[in-house]
């Protein structure tokens, strides 16, 4: 699905990603953990195409295409989705029109007809139910005045609507209460299939009880410094990151 090779990225001359390698296959769920400020969200932004970050080295191959060459919206068209750590508010644009426009833009990119009003309505209903969202948020402006939890749910609702091939969830669990966490995790699990893949960024192993990953990676200093299975997350929960740092120093 996606193959990240020796990725270096920086903001002005502040180097953030420094030789990151990661390969994710269809059907897999990978989790990324790591201390604050080590580059997790930066990785997500670089994959989504945010222009603030300059890629100085490395390649990203997405289903045989050069991801880094694509515009932001083209990446979405190819099937990339990012659930934001801090979802953005768009005053004056209704949540429902926003997602309809998004879905039809992606359909157009793929050479498909826009959905008929009826089909769109049914799909929205189905996905709202999946995430326990009421219609109340639909007519409000995108994320404007949403609570922290509502914003996160709304991200997963958008993901469910757009049905991406590769979704990155950046700390979707933070700010969610325990019930909401289960709902969101259920939502993700229902979307899991052999044809798509997920990259879950989190600080808490709790989420990984619900969304069980195939692999867990530790990102530190802009690199993946340790990879393992879901047991690695448990170990991190108990021991923190210091042992990894000291392991690195001895190397």
């Amino acid at each position: 699905m996606i193959k990240i090779n020796n990725l270096h990225a920086q903001v002005e001359d502040h180097k953030i990603l420094q030789g990151l390698n990661l390969e994710i296959n269809a059907g897999e769920v990978h989790a990324i953990m790591g201390p604050n400020g080590t580059g997790k969200s930066t990785l997500a932004s670089v994959l989504a195409g945010k222009e603030d970050f300059e890629v100085t080295q490395g390649t990203v191959d997405f289903n045989g295409k050069d991801l880094l060459e694509m515009e932001i919206d083209e990446r979405a068209g190819e099937g990339i989705f990012l659930a934001f750590q801090y979802p953005v508010e768009i005053p004056g644009v209704s949540n429902i029109n926003f997602i309809k426009t998004a879905l039809n833009s992606i359909r157009e990119y793929r050479g498909l007809e826009p959905l008929k009003a009826r089909e769109m309505l049914d799909l929205v209903k189905e996905k709202q139910e999946l995430l326990g969202l009421t219609g109340k948020l639909a007519n409000r402006s995108v994320n404007e005045g949403f609570s922290g939890g509502e914003k996160k749910r709304n991200e997963i609702f958008q993901m469910a609507m757009l049905n991406p091939k590769f979704a990155i969830l950046d700390e979707t669990d933070s700010g969610l209460d325990i019930d909401a966490l289960k709902v969101v995790a259920d939502g993700v699990n229902q979307l899991r299939s052999r044809d798509n893949a997920f990259l879950v960024i989190t600080h808490y192993q709790r989420l990984l009880d619900y969304i069980v990953p195939d692999f867990v990676h530790v990102l530190y200093d802009g690199r993946i410094v340790k990879s393992g299975t879901k047991e690695l997350a448990l170990e991190l929960e108990h021991k923190g990151y210091d042992w990894i740092k000291s392991e690195l120093e001895t190397v």
């Binding site: 515009e71 919206d73 979405a76 990012l82 768009i90 644009v93 926003f98 998004a102 833009s105 402006s141």
Partner: protein
């Protein structure tokens, strides 16, 4: 002519040629001595590109046959319409109501209420000597006009001068809504429009105006409004282009209990300029007024908002609000924003604010990560911004038409 008159040097624009009679032009000159000639030195005209306009000499041109664009006909639907081509009333294209509340007069002499001494604006003064058509609304007591009245300003032929004049007198308890539209043109010239509105007790007037894309045209509109007890006045001004568009809205609150809503937008590219001047004059208290103007500017265009709220000593319990927001898309485009308050009463609530910024880059990025192409995402944000002003309009057909103009204009701005 007396000697003093000879002394006045007026800019070429205000030539005698457009006047219908020598005597009227002389009357105009007599009054013109007491008004200021627009210049950069004057606060009122500081940022305006009026200088080059004053040196032009546009002349009245007789229209030949004219057809209304289909989109405009669709919007008018079965409403009433007054079509002015080069300022001249076109009966064939218009739909005039039965009944006597609407009167359309070709210029015969100085308008029935004469040149009002209070007019301190040279364009408005010149209008009274040169207007081709006068449209008079006399809405009788407690009458509610069932359909909006569209006034269509169209032009034909290059470099023309078009002047028209509107008097709206809404009697006690009456209501009317009026929609003016200046149609798209690639010609150059000047529209000089003068509007006098009087709302008697409990009257309600909605008066909107759309100026469609006319890159080479000049439009000077002077709007004088007088509101009496418990009246409601709503006016929206939507500008989609023009070499120089100058809108003056002067509202006097004469008695208590009034509501005034002023709003609008300007979207400009190239070297276009829109200059909005608002004087919101609260002479009596217990009234609410709001102003909400929004601009989107690109290339070397300029958007000016210069609005003042006066709250006179007797106008206690006035509630006045004023806002001007601009999105500037390129470094060369400029927004001049001057919201001002002058308050001489103590028990009032007034607030004003202005912001000028770029398109929200985070929102743009967010929308694009959802698959929305940049141009569409930009349009989405700009529409949301301008829509706030458009939403103040009651007529859905007009909202939709403005939405269409907005999209068309923005795609020109993105080039």
């Amino acid at each position: 002519m007396s000697e003093t008159l000879v002394d006045i040097k007026l800019p070429e624009l205000f030539s005698a040629e457009n006047a219908f009679e020598v005597s009227e032009y002389e009357k105009f000159l007599e009054h013109a001595r007491f008004v200021v000639i627009p210049a950069r030195k004057q606060e009122d005209w500081r940022y305006s590109k009026v200088g080059s306009l004053l040196k032009k000499s546009y002349k009245r041109i007789e229209p030949v046959s004219y057809e209304l664009p289909e989109a405009v006909m669709r919007m008018i639907g079965d409403s009433y319409s007054v079509v002015l081509v080069n300022g001249q009333f076109n009966h064939k294209l218009s739909v005039i109501p039965d009944g006597s509340w609407l009167e359309i007069k070709a210029h015969t002499s100085v308008p029935e209420n004469g040149i009002e001494p209070s007019i301190k604006n040279i364009f408005a003064l010149y209008n009274t000597a040169t207007f081709t058509t006068e449209v008079i609304f006399r809405i009788p007591e407690d009458s509610h006009i069932d359909k909006p009245v569209f006034i269509i300003h169209a032009r034909q032929g290059n470099s023309g001068y078009c002047a028209s004049r509107f008097v709206i007198d809404a009697a006690k308890g009456s209501s009317v809504s009026i929609v003016e539209m200046y149609l798209e043109s690639s010609d150059e010239g000047l529209y000089n429009t003068h509007v006098i509105t009087r709302l008697r007790e409990s009257a309600e007037v909605q008066h909107h105006c759309a100026i469609t894309s006319m890159a080479e045209e000049h439009v000077v509109r002077n709007h004088f409004v007088e509101q009496h007890k418990n009246s409601r006045y709503t006016t929206g001004h939507f500008i989609f282009g023009g070499r120089m568009i100058r809108n003056t809205l002067h509202i006097d609150i004469e008695e208590e209990g009034c509501e005034t809503n002023l709003f609008g937008s300007y979207m400009l590219n190239g070297r276009e300029q829109s200059d909005i001047r608002v004087v919101m004059n609260h002479k009596a208290g217990q009234s609410n007024s709001s102003q909400n103007f929004k601009g989107v500017l690109t290339d070397k265009s300029e958007g000016i908002f210069n609005g003042i709220i006066y709250v006179q000593p007797d106008a206690q319990r006035t509630n006045a609000y004023q806002s001007n927001k601009n999105i500037v898309l390129t470094d060369d485009a400029t927004a001049y924003s001057r919201p001002q308050l002058e308050i001489y009463a103590d028990d009032v609530k007034c607030s004003h604010g202005s912001t000028t910024g770029q398109l929200d880059q985070d929102a743009l990025y967010y929308a694009m990560t959802r698959g929305i192409p940049r141009r569409d995402a930009e349009l989405m944000l700009v529409s949301a911004f301008i829509r706030e002003a458009i939403n103040g309009i009651e007529q859905i057909c007009l909202q939709e038409y403005l939405d269409h103009l907005l999209q068309k204009k923005f795609s020109q701005m993105q080039k």
